[in-house]
C-alpha cells in the first residue's frame, strides 16, 4: 500500500473508527453479571471435578484434568469463532466495534488455548508416558495457537488503525479454517488423542458428564467476563487514539 492510500485511510477513520462511545451502564451491569456468575460456578466446578466425579479406573486422578482441559479447548474454539464472525463483520461494515470484538476475543482465546497446551501435557505424561507427541490433534492445535499468537503480534506491528484492523481481519478469517481441522483431526488421521467421545459415543458416566457441563458453563462465564474487560480496554485505547489524532 502506497503513502497516498495510507494518508487517505488515515483521513477516513476519524469518523468511521470512532469508538461506539464509552461502555454504557448496560455493559457494566453485564460485566458484573458475568463476573458474579463465574465466582458462583467456579467453586461448584472445583468441588465436582476434584471430589464428586468418580475417579477413572485406568487414568487415576490425572483424568480430572479433563474437566478444565476440555472446556478450555471448547471455549478457545468459541473465542476464535467470535474472531471469525467479528472479522467478517468488520470487513463488511468497517465499524470499529467489530474489530474490537475480534481482537479482544483473539487475545482471550489465546489464553484459553494456552491453558489447553499447559494442562494437556500434564495429562499426557502420566497416561501416555510423554508430555508431548507430534500427534495430528496436538500438532494442529499447536498450529492454531501459533496462528492466533501471530494475529496478536501482527496487531502490535501495524500502528495505523484501519490497516491493522483489515490485516488482522483477514488473518482472523483464514486462521479459523484450522478449527475444524483440529476438531476432525482425531477422526481423519491415526491419533493417540481421545476422540470427541462425548459427541461420538455418549458413554461418559452421568457424574462425569454433569461435571463437564458445569465446566463448560463456568468457562463460558469466564470467557464472557474476560471479553468484557478486554473490550473495555479496546474502547479506552480507541479513545486515546482519537485524542491523539485530534491534537
Amino acid at each position: 500500500m502506497n503513502d497516498v492510500k495510507t494518508d487517505a485511510a488515515r483521513q477516513q477513520p476519524v469518523g468511521e473508527l470512532r469508538p461506539d462511545a464509552v461502555a454504557g451502564p448496560l455493559a457494566g451491569s453485564r460485566r458484573r453479571l458475568w463476573g458474579i456468575a463465574t465466582l458462583v460456578t467456579l467453586p461448584i466446578l472445583l468441588g465436582m471435578a476434584l471430589f464428586w466425579a468418580p475417579e477413572d479406573a485406568n487414568q487415576g486422578a490425572a483424568q480430572r484434568i479433563f474437566y478444565i482441559h476440555v472446556p478450555s479447548a471448547w471455549i478457545g474454539f468459541l473465542a476464535f469463532f467470535v474472531v471469525f464472525v467479528g472479522s467478517i463483520a468488520f470487513l463488511a461494515t468497517g465499524k470499529r466495534k467489530w474489530d474490537d470484538v475480534a481482537s479482544s476475543s483473539a487475545e482471550v482465546g489465546v489464553v484459553f488455548t494456552t491453558a489447553v497446551l499447559v494442562t494437556g501435557p500434564l495429562w499426557g505424561r502420566p497416561v501416555w508416558g510423554v508430555y508431548w507427541t507430534w500427534d495430528p490433534r496436538l500438532t494442529s492445535f499447536l498450529m492454531l495457537w501459533l496462528i492466533y499468537l501471530s494475529y496478536i503480534v501482527l496487531r502490535g506491528y501495524v500502528p495505523e488503525p484501519i490497516r491493522r484492523a483489515r490485516f488482522s481481519a483477514v488473518l482472523g478469517i483464514v486462521g479459523f479454517l484450522d478449527v475444524p481441522i483440529v476438531y476432525l483431526s482425531a477422526r481423519w488421521w491415526r491419533s493417540e488423542h481421545p476422540t470427541n467421545f462425548v459427541v461420538d459415543r455418549g458413554d461418559l458416566p452421568p457424574e462425569m458428564l454433569a461435571t463437564l457441563i458445569v465446566g463448560l458453563v463456568t468457562f463460558t462465564f469466564l470467557y464472557l467476563y474476560l471479553l468484557s474487560v478486554r473490550r473495555s480496554i479496546a474502547r479506552l485505547r480507541a479513545q486515546r487514539e482519537l485524542e491523539e489524532v485530534a491534537r
Binding site: 487415576g60 478450555s72 491453558a115 474487560v229
Partner: protein, 41 residues
C-alpha cells in the same frame, strides 16, 4: 510425581494463568482510565 500430583499441578497452573491474565487486564484498564482522566484535566 504420581497421577494426583499432575492433576494438582494442572489445576494450579490453569488458576495462575487465568488469574494473572485477569490481573494484567484490570491493571491495563486502570492505567488507561487514569491517563484519560489526566488528559481531560
Amino acid at each position: 510425581m504420581n497421577s494426583t500430583g499432575y492433576a494438582i499441578v494442572a489445576y494450579m497452573g490453569a488458576t495462575v494463568l487465568y488469574g494473572l491474565y485477569l490481573l494484567w487486564l484490570l491493571a491495563q484498564e486502570r492505567k488507561l482510565g487514569r491517563s484519560g482522566r489526566d488528559a481531560a484535566r
